[in-house]
Symmetry: C2
Subunit: 153 residues, 2 copies
């Protein structure tokens, strides 16, 4: 690292925050563009598929909304579209006539695996400057920070 | 740091990305809550005031939209409200009858300074686990990463 003059801790942390925000926005924008160009898909759609792939027993619509990072994605619309495409199915919940579970089909599982592998590759390229050990250390520090800020206020 | 088992580089980077996203969302949520509770304000409003404070000659509406991080903030509505509150004024642009510049009033400058100091303090507390030097190093690495990912694709 070059010997850049050090500002006060609070100014350096403010700068770090602006860089964190810029980096996470930049990565998110790149992911959106890649999903669109390579799969004709979107981030909320990918999030839905990924959530369902982690729950092979299926999820209720309400659980799916909760799992979604992007709350402004229209879960109902996304699921309807995925049903039309044969990537997910709705299955009844025994003993609850009003409820249904959403579950990946084999086709959906395959699509999800392909997109998840591509997603991991994009992130790997974008965060390639961090070694595995550095990535782990930084992830742990960010995790502690999030927990700490949740404890406050 | 505890000796957590190291996954493959791409898995550790994927985990880092999820933590980065979670941390930046968490900080943003805390900032929104603090601005609301302490100043009855919002992040887009704060962004507008902060942008204007960096440009004492004033900014055009189009420049203001460009500067805003949060593009879904309604710049026109925010500026109108700030005009009503006496925090900003619209001044005509010499030689361009259709255009106007938006500029902070003295009251707006004072409000902005108070809120910016509070904002810096909140960030300072949330990122307190990073020393000034660590914050600077990490900010530089994130910056290089963003530039690199802009070079690709």
């Amino acid at each position: 690292m070059s010997a850049t003059q050090l500002l006060s801790p609070s100014k350096e942390r403010l700068r770090l925050w602006l860089r964190l925000l810029k980096a996470s926005r930049g990565i998110e924008t790149a992911l959106r563009e890649n999903l669109r160009s390579d799969f004709g898909s979107t981030l909320p759609r990918f999030d839905v598929l990924a959530a369902l792939s982690r729950h092979s027993d299926g999820l209720r619509m309400s659980q799916l909304s909760g799992v979604l990072r992007v709350s402004n994605g229209n879960v109902t619309g996304i699921v309807e579209r995925l049903v039309e495409e044969g990537q997910v199915v709705r299955v009844p919940v025994p003993g609850d006539r009003r409820a249904s579970l959403v579950r990946l089909t084999t086709k959906g599982q395959e699509q999800c695996a392909i997109q998840a592998a591509a997603h991991e590759g994009w992130i790997d390229a974008m965060l390639g400057a961090f070694s595995a050990q550095e990535a782990q250390d930084l992830a742990q520090r960010l995790d502690q920070m999030v927990q700490k800020s949740n404890d406050g206020k």
